[in-house]
């Protein structure tokens, strides 16, 4: 499963880059790069939420109003729910210092989380499915009552969408995001490099067929595809074309 969809444990974590697994209270450096005003009180969609680490940070440190996470792996969805519950349990109800992790991790682990699941769901909702093909009943693209998201995140997930569905699937992906994001909303995209595609194919040769048919490469056409789906590049971070922000 993980070699097909990239649902590796701690995939979203920057442990992949630093070589160690950061504690839950360490902020995700990618989120710190973003202008915080776009996140404040925002409704956020986290595509490929993995274990909910990014969603938890968004809720805890970036003052977003609510997060909806989606991932293809049922286990990771379950993890995301408990992770967000864990992170919210650490916050003092009226925290004058504004620091998230007021209660020790030992207390939460020892006694269990303090927030009822229903309350967690109000701020962090997670659903399992392939974002390109599955339907979130609450999403505007599905005709639900949801008013769309202020910010949509696709961090380190485009490669897997691309390898699973090819160029046409990638286009569908961007089009669906364009529907889900509010007008004047933001789409934060972290594409992976082409060499990373090759590594994924090396691990799972079943992906080779789609891989060989890919014409839209990151840095060579992907930006154009995103723009064709209705987005405008606002800002680029990181090295080369590896990271970008769209609206």
């Amino acid at each position: 499963m993980s070699t097909k969809t990239g649902s590796y444990k701690t995939y979203q974590s920057h442990a992949r880059h630093t070589g160690s697994n950061p504690a839950a209270h360490i902020p995700d450096p990618r989120l710190l790069l973003l202008p915080q005003e776009i996140l404040k009180d925002a409704r956020v969609l986290d595509i490929g939420c993995n274990n909910g680490a990014v969603s938890g940070h968004l809720l805890l440190r970036h003052a977003v109003k609510s997060v909806v996470g989606v991932d293809v792996d049922e286990k990771l969805i379950s993890k995301s729910r408990s992770h967000v519950n864990f992170m919210l349990s650490r916050v003092r109800p009226s925290d004058p210092s504004g620091r998230g992790e007021w209660y020790p991790v030992s207390s939460v682990r020892k006694y269990g989380s303090r927030i009822p699941p229903a309350e967690v769901c109000e701020r962090g909702r997670f659903w399992c499915g392939d974002y390109v093909t599955a339907i979130d009943p609450a999403a505007p693209s599905a005709g639900g009552g949801c008013a769309g998201y202020d910010v949509v995140f696709a961090l380190s997930v485009v490669k897997w969408v691309h390898l699973a569905h090819g160029d046409s699937g990638l286009r569908s992906f961007f089009e669906k995001v364009a529907v889900d994001v509010k007008p004047r909303g933001y789409f934060v995209l972290e594409p992976q490099g082409w060499e990373s595609y090759a590594r994924a194919v090396g691990k799972n040769p079943e992906l080779r067929g789609v891989f060989e048919g890919i014409r839209v490469r990151p840095g060579e056409g992907m930006e154009g595809l995103v723009a064709a789906c209705g987005f405008r590049l606002v800002r680029r971070w990181g090295v080369g074309a590896s990271e970008g922000g769209w609206d």
């Binding site: 209270h25 991790v105 207390s107 020892k110």
Partner: protein, 463 residues
């Protein structure tokens, strides 16, 4: 110019050998050095082991059994004898006698003294007896204890790394050296420093390693109690997750307890409302008596699988021997060697020398006890499934022994097992040590032998 290879070789052979230098060649230092960070962590782990708290919290027999006289001086411990210390269990790469030797040469510790041959170590006599932590009042101990959440997970299990990172931070030097690190789990630990830590210092994030959450023990108690109250208020209908035995903070999994499971460790946190709640929620254990066997004298590096194989073999051989002796008098069919032993679960934690066996039937328990008593086999190493016979004349008494757990001990054990099953989730369950091995619900006669009859503080007063 092209020179055929054969001629090249010939020319080489004909070269006069250089006269041997009278000065011995400089020995390559490459092999004598290890990574300085690793060296420092190894030395600091040893300093923690030999610290006041380390010595005080450990059973004297652990040290005394390893102490030797070297060059007329006593109290030295061979470096190889330290390798099974659980404090080193999470160190990577795994230390060896040689890496210890190199580390100690590279970073000579103040607290420790290396023998002339550099294979033995002891605490410097000028530091003994210490006026520091061992006899410190509990209140003082709490004052010098800080709660930490490091920036990465996992390092709390490596006391040397925690100590190294603290020593390299901007924390006031008066707090050093680190006396002990009690790991809660991979995310948090209690660190006992040399002097009391002020609240201001603990609050000042500049002083501590970057990204760490640090608070005094008192502050931790305050937040912990507040969390419990808040949790009860917000989730009155949900059950409290029950953690098993007491440790430094009342939770399980401390390094000290893992190291010295037979020693009672006084909980430094007063029993809070949650403890009372836990007591209230104790279930009426409904269990079949006579299924639990307590094993002692296991090898500390053994595993559950090895224990299973070891016990099964002993029971099997015992049965075989019994039937063959019967067969001398009467005819016994070959397949009637007696029933094989059925082990449901081995309750064991790496690094301990004790374990609990949960067997399928009471007859299995009796069989295990009888087999081990008769066969007197000791485990020579962690993977020893056969065991070595301990001769009667050898004067040794360290064969693997089994005792039936009965009465109150048995009831407490089952309550804890049920509580663990009821309260834990998969991941947390894995993080916890196999509870009963540290529960100290041993048969009372044995507890008297090792504890001098003191009631263990690890077990709550439910008995």
């Amino acid at each position: 110019m092209f020179v055929p290879r054969q001629l090249q070789r010939k020319a080489l052979r004909q070269q006069p050998k250089e006269p041997a230098s009278l000065v011995p060649p400089e020995k390559s230092t490459k092999d004598d050095h290890i990574d300085p960070t690793l060296a420092k962590e190894m030395v600091m782990t040893l300093e923690i082991l030999f610290s006041d708290y380390g010595i005080e919290s450990g059973p004297p027999e652990w040290f005394s059994a390893r102490m030797r006289s070297v060059e007329g001086e006593s109290d030295f411990i061979h470096l190889s004898a330290l390798l099974d210390c659980p404090l080193l269990a999470e160190m990577k790469p795994k230390p060896s006698q040689m890496t210890f030797r190199k580390a100690l040469t590279q970073c000579p510790p103040d607290l420790l003294q290396l023998s002339k041959d550099r294979y033995y170590i002891r605490r410097r006599h000028e530091y003994l007896p210490s006026s520091k932590s061992p006899a410190r009042h509990q209140k003082d101990l709490d004052g010098s204890t800080i709660y930490i959440e490091p920036h990465v997970t996992g390092i709390t299990l490596n006391p040397g790394r925690v100590a190294r990172m603290l020593s390299q931070s901007a924390m006031p030097r008066k707090y050093l050296p680190v006396q002990f690190v009690e790991a809660g789990d991979t995310a948090w630990a209690f660190v006992i420093l040399s002097t009391a830590v002020s609240h201001e210092d603990a609050e000042n994030q500049e002083l501590w390693p970057r990204g760490w959450i640090v608070m005094t023990k008192h502050e931790w108690i305050r937040r912990d109690e507040e969390y419990q109250q808040l949790r009860r208020r917000r989730r009155p209908t949900l059950p409290t997750r029950i953690r098993l035995p007491e440790r430094h903070d009342g939770a399980s999994g401390s390094s000290a307890q893992e190291m010295w499971p037979d020693r009672p460790i006084a909980p430094t946190v007063p029993a809070g409302p949650a403890s009372a709640r836990e007591d209230d929620q104790k279930m009426n254990a409904d269990y079949e008596p006579g299924l639990i066997v307590y094993l002692t004298n296991l090898h500390p590096q053994t595993s559950k699988e090895t224990i299973t194989s070891f016990i099964t073999r002993q029971a099997d051989r015992y049965n075989r021997k019994k039937s063959s002796s019967k067969a001398k008098g009467n005819f016994v069919p070959k397949d009637e060697d007696g029933p094989p032993v059925n082990i449901n679960y081995v309750d064991y934690q790496k690094g301990l020398t004790t374990a609990y066996l949960r067997l399928r039937k009471a007859q299995d328990s009796e069989l295990v006890v009888s087999a081990l008593r008769k066969r007197k086999r000791m485990m020579q190493d962690g993977s020893d499934k056969k065991g070595k016979k301990v001769g009667i004349d050898s004067g040794r008494n360290d064969w693997v022994k089994a005792t039936n757990v009965e009465g109150n001990e048995e009831r407490i054990y089952w309550e804890k097992v049920l509580a663990a099953k009821w309260g834990g989730k998969g991941k947390n369950k894995r993080k916890r040590p196999s509870q009963p091995a540290t529960l100290d619900v041993r048969p009372s006669d044995e507890r008297k032998q090792t504890d001098g009859g003191r009631p263990s503080k690890k077990v709550k007063s439910s008995d």
